[in-house]
């Protein structure tokens, strides 16, 4: 999952690992399902799906799980997922960008606002925190390949 690596080097509490893995798989699957729903089910024709599958493979998600997530996109549901970006400042005025995928923007906005406030920070308007960043296409390859 993009963006997590910058604190991956810091020790995490043990035992949380399994719970985190299941949550990560769930989020990776969600992205696959939404990508397949919004475009072609063939990754060759759907860049977003291609990216989602690649991310899932990199996290060692089993092929079965990936296929299930793609199949799930065929299920007719009234739910419409949106990609929404929230930004603000966290503890120590750290600039934070949160990318979400939600079928209920009110719930998401409310939850995220609460998390920021509880941490002593706050959500900002669009651009308030993101001007501290550059949005770039990043292609990561294994060192051995170079």
């Amino acid at each position: 999952m993009a963006g997590h690596s910058h604190w991956a080097g810091i020790k995490h509490k043990k035992g949380k690992a399994d719970k985190q893995r299941s949550k990560i798989f769930s989020k990776l699957s969600k992205e696959i399902t939404v990508a397949a729903k919004l475009g072609d089910k063939d990754p060759a024709m759907n860049p977003r799906l291609r990216s989602a599958i690649q991310a899932a493979r990199s996290s060692n998600m089993p092929k079965d799980n990936i296929e299930r997530a793609i199949d799930k996109s065929s299920i007719n549901t009234e739910l419409n997922f949106e990609n929404l970006r929230y930004e603000g400042f966290g503890p120590k005025k750290v600039a934070v960008i949160v990318e979400t995928l939600t079928e209920n923007r009110n719930r998401t906005a409310s939850n995220i606002r609460t998390i920021f406030q509880k941490a002593g920070g706050s959500l900002g308007t669009q651009g308030s925190a993101s001007h501290n960043f550059n949005q770039l296409g990043i292609i990561k390859i294994d060192k051995k390949e170079v």
Partner: protein
């Protein structure tokens, strides 16, 4: 989003194993986080990650040992 895949296609001539191909937010500056503050920041990020709607988080925190 397609441009990044055009670049990738070119790279595929020489490279086989890609880890990821994504649009990411890269910080232009950083806020140094001293050891005493590590836990607060990590807890904050973890609570955000716990939320099922959250997919990606980017920050300009720089963890100092």
């Amino acid at each position: 989003m397609n441009e990044i895949y055009n670049v990738k296609k070119e790279l595929e001539r020489e490279i086989n194993n890609f880890i990821s191909t994504e649009i990411e937010w890269i910080p232009l500056n950083s806020v140094e986080i001293s050891k005493e503050m590590h836990e607060d920041l990590i807890n904050f990020f973890e609570v955000l990650e716990e939320d099922d709607d959250v997919q990606n988080i980017y920050s300009n925190a720089k963890f100092i040992k």
